[in-house]
Symmetry: C2
Subunit: 220 residues, 2 copies
């Protein structure tokens, strides 16, 4: 029974990877930079995306968004006023986005008009890291209210990301959090990931994320 | 392929439920109250448990703890100084505890000496809710830094819990959070769950959790 399960899971994973490769080639064909924001529930993924989009629009960089949630469309509604192309995916219970969901999401975006596709994954520090989507850049959003030890407790998530955004830095004086400790733990899991301390609420360092994106696009 | 997967998942779920029933009967046989703390990474499960244990010990209520983590033993180490029986389960990647893990955890606890078994599930607001463990009481820990809409975004988690602890209430003046909104959203998903606003950091309302536990034990 166990063996059977493992085998089928492997098939599912390899099927997922195949679709992820297709997604990647579609993004590449359209010269689109694709970003996959992952992180725990409430870490502030949407707040950061909300602040990042106008920064990019001001540079005439056109974004589409794929929002992943188990249920509801709270996050999409928060982004609606930008008038940008938005696709809401409800996983109906599933704890992560997979490559097929992204493929279907892309079919509903005007790819020819876009420079960047932002994916907001389901709030979950475990499962989304297991499913490749075919994106250029995995981003983990951490928040200082979660505690410093999270990279060691959720190693896969932190190891698959090339950018880590340490959010809610505006609260640094009211919570017990050592940036030095977090950085040290992160380095044990992922020595190379870029780390930017930000605040989606107040806008601290959102410009640094924009610069990261511009660099990835070859514009800086 | 999809059908096959669903079938096996159903088998796994029914297998899990069978073991959960066994766990339940072992807890009952030993007159042990079992509590399953669930919640997002960093919501403060451990901090609450850390403050709750001495309150219970002061009433001569003896606790054992089963700590569930993907990797590491940070949380167990925080509880070690109480000198209580502790079992650390590392799921090695899995995003939740299941009934079999609890069964094995129980085999390593001196059940005859215990009144309460506290289980701290893997930090995840999705998957742990899908796996019955055979406990008396599912508890969801929410934190005000996560935002008000979480019950609607993670409905299963909030629907399976009879007690919701709204943690980090000490930060109510520095984050944008409406208790009224959260309560309204929670009631849409779960009209009956008891809601207690607490702070694991400062100890606010930990006594109310103790009283909840005493009531469940028939001691109040």
């Amino acid at each position: 029974m166990t063996f059977k399960k493992v085998k089928i899971e492997q098939n599912l994973f390899s099927q997922n990877e195949e679709i992820a490769r297709e997604n990647k080639s579609i993004f590449t064909k359209h010269k689109i930079l694709s970003l996959n924001f992952m992180g725990a529930p409430g870490c502030g993924k949407t707040s950061i995306i909300e602040k990042l989009i106008p920064e990019l629009l001001a540079k005439k960089i056109y974004c589409g968004v794929i929002e992943g949630d188990i249920a509801g469309s709270f996050d999409s509604e928060r982004l609606e006023h930008y008038g940008i192309p938005l696709v809401q995916i409800n996983t109906g219970g599933a704890c992560h986005l997979d490559a097929l969901m992204i493929k279907k999401g892309m079919e509903n975006l005007p790819l020819k008009q876009l420079n960047v596709v932002i994916i907001e994954n389901v709030g979950n520090l475990v499962c989304p890291a297991e499913f490749e989507l075919g994106v250029d850049c995995n981003i983990t959003v951490a928040s200082i209210t979660e505690g410093e030890e999270k990279p060691l407790k959720y190693p896969l998530m932190y190891s698959v990301s090339e950018l880590v955004l340490l959010n809610k830095i505006d609260l640094i004086n009211v919570v017990d959090f050592s940036i030095e400790k977090f950085t040290r733990f992160l380095r044990q899991i992922n020595p190379k990931a870029e780390l930017i301390a930000v605040s989606g609420r107040t806008g601290i360092n959102i410009k640094a994320i924009k610069e990261y994106v511009l660099k990835k696009m070859g514009l800086l």
